[in-house]
């Protein structure tokens, strides 16, 4: 292309499409025209033109309908502007703006701005702009934020028997305040940033400054800053963009909607990532065993909690290799089944026209279809699915001789087991892997299953979450943290924080916290003796 055309093209590009500069001007009319143009005259951008009190200076209040608290805006902001009594007639417009900010507006979060980009940014999160004719500055009032948002409700995905009933909402500042109400120390630090060129989503990270490993904080910030994307609609976007090993089926970032879980993990030195617009808050770094823990593990007594944890690990294996083990045992290793049981199974499988693996695949697929249907259906017809599914699969398939009753039992147990896994993120990975194990079992019997399990272990051991080995504290074994893995050590024995996440500040308890009540027959005995006397 000749330099002539090139030059012309460049000239075209340089010609501003919008004639307005980056900063505010002193003409109110121009400013308002620019706002209208920029927002394409959208009706929810409200421009309220008024005259400031006695001085009769023209001004405008700009806000976005629905993002501001209307009552606050009318009662305090607009009213006080209109009633402003200018003390001296000769004050300049700039002085007037200062006075408004210092003396008149009875609200917090008032700031002077000149850049349009900053002004629009604060306007879109619910601040109110005040522009006065004749100055090239404007005020933003951040505390008019308001509008409709969902109130705090009970968690729906992480139910507990004992513990707090609060769950996060879609509002970032509410979520942060909920954690602040639990951990009341100035060491709880929050840093925020905006991600998404279109959505400008607020993302905040939170950590306990005196506990956290600062390398992890740096790494989290680095990975968040790397993200260049147009939109962040849910924390899942961030999760997938900052994972260590995107090709793994296992979640390497924990998400929760419970403030107490976030608080507990912050106290162990993890970093929380809040994203505006979702009640699911992310936690890094995580270890695999964490997905088997529930909040009430820590609230119940340690022996009960440990037993349920062992049960959950057992459940994990059932949901992973349940159908695979059935296939392997009936296809390759009949000798491993006790004879009586084998006879029963063989008698019932007699009429089934498929090999065990096809039978299992049919049943598993049918179950997955049912589950997916149940998830998406309107609540009113949900029961239809369960009746049809239960009847067709439970009764008819068996009576028609397409599948054998033991297979139905195996699939049902597997299904229940996969629902009993505390973390949906892990349960869904297991759902996927189950089919791979069924294939291995069909081809190689128990050998295939064992090889699959070893490969799974190798895969898990090779993962890292923000530098922390995924299978820690089991592999590599760390004695201190192993008190909170397959078992949960009692609180009075958990003297140290997990050094994996907080290498600098490991002391959690002072001295011996084991309860040591006074010996019996000193205080108690008197009252019981009295009681005896009264009764007699």
């Amino acid at each position: 292309m000749s330099p002539f055309f090139k030059g012309k093209k460049n000239a075209d590009q340089n010609k501003p499409v919008d004639p307005m500069p980056g900063a505010i001007t002193s003409s109110l009319q121009d400013n308002l025209a620019w706002v209208k143009q920029k927002f394409g005259n959208s009706p929810d951008i409200i421009i309220r033109e008024l005259k400031i009190g006695s001085s009769k200076v023209k001004a405008a209040v700009i806000y976005v309908q629905g993002l501001v608290d209307n009552q606050l805006l009318n009662d305090f902001l607009i009213e006080s502007l209109m009633q402003y009594d200018s003390s001296s007639q000769d004050e300049t417009r700039t002085q007037m703006l200062d006075n408004l900010s210092d003396l008149v507006i009875p609200m917090g979060g008032v700031k002077e701005e000149t850049e349009w980009s900053k002004l629009f940014e604060s306007l879109l999160v619910g601040a109110t702009l005040i522009i006065i004719d004749g100055t090239d500055k404007a005020l933003t009032v951040a505390s008019t934020q308001g509008g409709e948002s969902r109130s705090i409700s009970e968690p729906t995905t992480q139910n507990v028997i004992r513990g707090s009933r609060e769950s996060f909402t879609e509002n970032l500042s509410t979520n942060i305040s909920m954690v602040r109400r639990i951990i009341r120390t100035p060491d709880l630090w929050v840093e925020s940033m905006k991600i998404g060129t279109q959505t400008n989503t607020n993302v905040s990270i939170m950590y306990l400054n005196n506990v956290v490993d600062h390398d992890v904080v740096k790494e989290v910030k680095k990975r968040l800053k790397r993200i260049k994307i147009d939109s962040i609609l849910e924390s899942g976007y961030i999760e997938q963009l900052i994972e260590d090993q995107p090709a793994s089926p296992f979640p390497q970032i924990y998400h929760t909607e419970r403030p107490d879980v976030i608080a507990g993990n912050l106290l162990e030195g993890r970093v929380a990532i809040f994203v505006n617009g979702t009640p699911f808050v992310l936690l890094v770094p995580v270890v695999f065993i964490q997905f088997f823990q529930t909040p009430d593990d820590y609230y119940f007594r340690f022996d009960i909690a440990s037993a349920t944890r062992l049960l959950r690990i057992f459940i994990f294996f059932i949901s992973l290799i349940g159908p695979a083990a059935y296939i392997a045992a009936t296809t390759y290793h009949q000798e491993m089944i006790p004879t009586h049981l084998l006879l029963i199974i063989a008698a019932q499988r007699e009429s089934v026209p498929f090999p065990a693996v096809i039978e299992a695949l049919i049943m598993e697929l049918a179950f997955e279809v049912l589950r997916e249907a149940g998830l998406r259906l309107p609540k009113a017809i949900g029961s239809t699915v369960s009746i049809v599914g239960g009847l067709v699969i439970g009764q008819a398939a068996v009576q028609a001789g397409i599948v054998s009753p033991p297979m139905v039992i195996v699939v049902a147990i597997t299904a229940i087991a996969s629902f009993a896994t505390p973390s949906f993120a892990v349960a869904i990975s297991v759902r996927l892997l189950r089919f791979a194990f069924m294939g291995l079992a069909a081809a190689f019997g128990f050998f295939g299953i064992i090889v699959g399990l070893i490969m799974l272990t190798v895969h898990l051991c090779g993962l890292r979450s923000f530098g922390v080995p995924y299978m820690a504290p089991l592999g590599p074994y760390r004695p201190v943290e192993s008190g909170d893995t397959v078992i949960r050590a009692p609180w009075w024995a958990a003297k140290k924080r997990p050094g994996l996440f907080s290498p600098n500040n490991v002391k959690r308890e002072a001295g011996s916290q084991m309860p040591a009540p006074p010996q019996p027959r000193t205080i108690k005995s008197e009252s019981t003796e009295k009681g005896n006397q009264n009764e007699s």
Binding site: F444, V451, H459, G475, P476
Partner: protein
């Protein structure tokens, strides 16, 4: 060498899983009949001596693997030739063990599956693991060690509860005389204890090099003890005549368990334990072979070699013998004499002599300089 570090605990676990791997599958020291368990203990002492030999040679070149220090001791030409032979030896052993385990599975559970297919599945697992590196392997070892321990203790408990242990089978001690015992000890020095020579390729990864000696000795002692107990249990449950006719004595032992008419046919215990053991044995042999080749041929990324060498090992494992008996025969008669003896004893001894002489010369020179 890859850029990785393992802890003394992890090394300990790896050595034990490695040592127990195929020796649980193939009985050791059977020449001594019911004294096999004594032969194992004797073999362990020999293994300890060999370990000290390897440690001594390695201690002159801390942080270097044998393929590297051979070139330093014997000069680049001869050193590299010996290093190459050494790498071939490691590949051969990897293929041998792979064959052992493939045959085991074909005989034990999958008579209609071709050996090649079984070995292929093994190799997929091994290649995947070796690509992940030594750190991942060490962590896997820590977790699977717990699994193996639980299985072993459960089986032992069930055997005791079942009442199948009969110590009379171990008597009379030293029936065949001390000469037979010494012969049996000689056999069990090379297999399994002398195979610890492959760990000379792994010591440089240890994050506390000072502890290498202690960890190696303890691990050998522990695995010798466990092997001896296993042999004694096998012998006392089956008796020598039954044991010597059994393909897999440990399996036969476990099959005798029948507690409360319900806990019976616990073959799957045997299978889990043996597959885990075999996994570590094959993986470690293959890993050190790949690492040896990487350092010998100065390949930048060891992962580039894993796939091609994996295929070679796979085909080698199928091709080294025409049937299982031939394979076993080679393992008992040819391999110890022509492979284990030079690579486990003669070469390390020669290395030690050369390095000591070399250092003496150096010291003399230094003295003369002063």
């Amino acid at each position: 060498m890859e850029n990785a570090k393992i802890s003394p605990r992890q090394l300990f676990v790896l050595i034990i899983l490695f040592q127990l791997g195929s020796s649980l599958l193939i009985p050791v020291g059977l020449t001594a009949k019911q004294d096999a368990w004594l032969a194992v203990l004797g073999g362990m002492v020999g293994g300890l001596l060999l370990f000290l030999l390897y440690y001594k040679v390695g201690s002159y070149y801390p942080g270097l693997v044998p393929t590297e220090y051979m070139a330093k001791i014997w000069g680049p030409f001869f050193g590299k030739i010996f290093a190459f032979l050494y790498v071939l030896y490691l590949f051969y052993l990897a293929a041998r063990v792979l064959r052992d385990y493939g045959e085991m599975l074909v005989i034990f559970a999958y008579p209609e599956t071709p050996l090649f297919i079984v070995n292929l599945l093994w190799m997929v697992l091994v290649v995947y693991t070796v690509r992940k590196g030594i750190e991942t392997l060490a962590r896997t070892g820590e977790i699977l060690f717990v699994v193996v321990s639980i299985l072993a203790l459960t089986s032992l408990l069930l055997l005791v509860l079942n009442g199948s242990i009969d110590t009379k089978n171990l008597q009379p001690v030293l029936e065949e005389g001390p000469v037979t015992l010494i012969k049996a000890i000689g056999e069990s020095v090379f297999f399994p204890f002398g195979e610890i020579v492959v760990f000379t390729m792994i010591y440089p990864y240890l994050n506390q090099l000072k502890k290498a000696k202690r960890v190696g000795l303890y691990a050998l002692l522990f695995s010798g003890f466990v092997l001896s107990v296993t042999m004694a249990v096998n012998l006392s449950v089956l008796g020598f005549s039954l044991l010597s006719r059994s393909n897999f004595p440990l399996l036969s032992t476990i099959q005798t368990i029948n507690v409360a008419e319900f806990l019976e046919r616990l073959d799957v215990f045997f299978m889990i334990g043996v597959v885990i053991g075999g996994f570590f044995k094959i993986t470690i042999f293959f890993y050190v072979a790949v690492m040896g080749a990487t350092s010998l041929f100065k390949v930048k990324e060891s992962s580039h070699l894993v796939f091609p060498l994996g295929f070679i090992t796979l085909f080698l494992s199928v091709g080294i013998a025409s049937n299982f008996s031939e394979h076993i025969q080679e393992g008992l008669d040819i391999v110890p004499l022509y492979l284990h003896l030079p690579f486990q004893v003669i070469f390390p001894l020669l290395l030690l002599v050369s390095v000591v002489l070399k250092n003496r010369k150096k010291q003399k020179k230094q003295l003369a300089m002063k």
